[in-house]
Amino acid sequence: MVKVEGLDKLMAEHPFFQGMDEASRKTLSGCARNERFDDGDYIAHEGKAAERFYFIRSGTVALEFHMQGQDGLIIETLHDGDVFGWSWMVPPYEWAYDIRAVGLTRVISLEATCLRKKLKKDNALGFELYSRFVPVMAKRLYSARQQLTDMYGKS
Amino acid sequence: MSTSDSSQVHVSQARVIEATRLDSLVKALRKSGYTTIGPKARDGAVVLEKFSSADELPLGLVDDQQPGAYRLSKAKKPAYFDFTHGAQTWKRYLFPPKEKLWTAQKTAAGFEVQAEVDAPKYAFIGVRACELAAIQIQDKVFVDGEHTATGYKARRDKALIVALNCRRAGGTCFCTSMDTGPKVKDGFDLALTELTTKDSHTFLVEAGSERGEKILARLDGRLATGDDLKAAKKAVNKAAKSMGRDMPKDAAKVLADNLESPRWQEIAKRCLDCANCTMVCPTCFCNTTTDTTSLDGQTSERWRQWDSCFTLDFSYIHGGAIRRDGAQRYRQWMSHKLSTWHDQFGVSGCVGCGRCITWCPVGIDITAEVRAMAPKTK
């Protein structure tokens, strides 16, 4: 079990927190824990309560839509340095996809209730978090739209 | 015109023949094996067709050309060449609307291909300076590049050109601003300038090549005098001074800088996509290849035929046409003709003949459109 000081160091190494002031980061690390998933482990299921915010340190996760009577359809894979699970920010705080680990994956996760409490108390902290997060979402939306064009399909 | 200036290699003296003896030129060419092509009046317009005698030429006709309008009428003074030109150009002979490239025959192993070239020996009579410039431009496209169009080159090498110096500007002409006329510069075998006075009707005939020299020697004309040369110069200058429009000198840059001008949409509201401009333009060279197969599937032919960038499927690739909109197609034609042609071939694609203006059913005038696109241009 990694100590809190150790967690703060791990978070500092993750690209998402680059440039964040130490105080804010330390506050957030209070909600953090280091996690590991093995190949095939489901980290989340579509529709279930989204209680954690994830930062991939190493490994790969697949975002899937489950299909009745078929294997799930993978729509994106995320890798080292990526962030996932922002449904905790948006009511009703439920996962939008299944998330499955592909290969051994290590993540830092932040607990949602803890986070929401801290952000309510400290708006500046909220700004730090959201201002880092919006560009990530913008890039992901853009990538998703590129995928939507089905550009390799027969035109 | 003095024979000592210009790029002429040949220094023979110009001669003057009676207009009534014009037919001797036609006969001399036919005797040398040329199929003579020249202007004739048919269906109310001047066309370019095979002819065998000078009395088939449109003597005494003059044209009135305006944007979207063309009329032939009887001239006050009967001359052979006072009309300027019609809808057709010499490209229909050097670069025919339909040309067979090859025939393929099925064999046991697969197939065999036999190329074909149709290259009659043409003599063109009455090639205006703008038209000659246009032929030289098509040479750059079909002969001077990395690849040569075999049929075009064969016909071009054989073709004998009897040019005609205009003494009258047509209603839509602007060759002076394109630096292509009205006087022919080079590349001709013979050049005629029609001279009419109260009591004479003659042609000044100059040779521009060895071939032309030989023909000239067979005509019974007298040597040209200084007065003849002066009269010819005066006549041609009259044409040069009576142009009704001009192309702005910076047309190439204006178009390159205005690819997204709202003016294109404005033009597209008028343009019918009829492709007339591309068919009457003497330099337009777009063409397509089509394959036809015999009913028994044993023989297939490859044909090349005229095409136009105004057709919707001209730019079609899987997925659809690139230029789906009339404005985009019009822009393609005009910016190619007046702008990118320079990058491709080192010269403008336009020779200032004005046909596109005359034969456009809605009278779109490319000189006016260039001005409209850059209002500050003089």
Binding site: Y152 | T289, I322
Partner: protein
Amino acid sequence: MSTQPKPDPMTPVPFTIVRRRQELKDTFTVELTPASANRFAFQPGQFNMLYAFGVGEVPISISGDPGNPEKLVHTVRNVGAVTDALSKLKKGAEIGVRGPFGSPWPIVEAEGNDVVIVAGGIGLAPLRPAIEHVLANRSKYGRFVILYGARSPADVLYMKQLQNWRGRLDTYVDVTVDHAGRDWAGNVGVVTRLIGRANFDTHHVKVFICGPELMMRFTIKELSDQGVSKDDIYVSMERNMKCAIGHCGHCQFGGHFICKDGPVFPYARIESLMQVRGM
């Protein structure tokens, strides 16, 4: 420049199919042998006009090894009447060939630099000769990166070769698909996402991109965002083609004839044109 004597550029020469393989559901590869000469020299990035007797011609990139000119290889996607006719031809049948035409990938200018290949869909076929050339002259280049995106795992072209290239210790290969099922353990996502994870020197690199025009646009944007200069990015463009020798006007893109000024262009030269709708 071809080493063959110059035949009439509009007359196809019959070549015999010596091998044919189905690559994907709608894509096949033919290996042709020249009937007369015994080699067909070409540069990576060039294309031929392939003629199906009685049906017509299509421009198809040459996708074989330029260091092995005894084999003329073409990978063709079945999208229309002519490619459909070609797809039905068996070993021993003849295909008419005119070419090679067009501008090549700048494999000589790229020497001394890292080389990044970004291919999408069938776009891997015109890039394969460049890949073969770099691998055959590996020491002349810096890092070598191959990034490939396809629609789904069933649409990944040259899968075996991608795996072979990946297996080399001196080559980085990453493949992604737009969507997949569970049996795909690789990346899912748009090909541009692979660029940030690849390791190359953005200041000393040449990037060759080939794929649908939309994919090339996205890729160029990502590369530019990552600091790659427009002068170091090369794309292979496509337009309607009939003659392939600059005589018919169909393939014009602005003032460029795709058949002779392209299909390979440095992006810097065509950047402004790519942004104009309906160019």
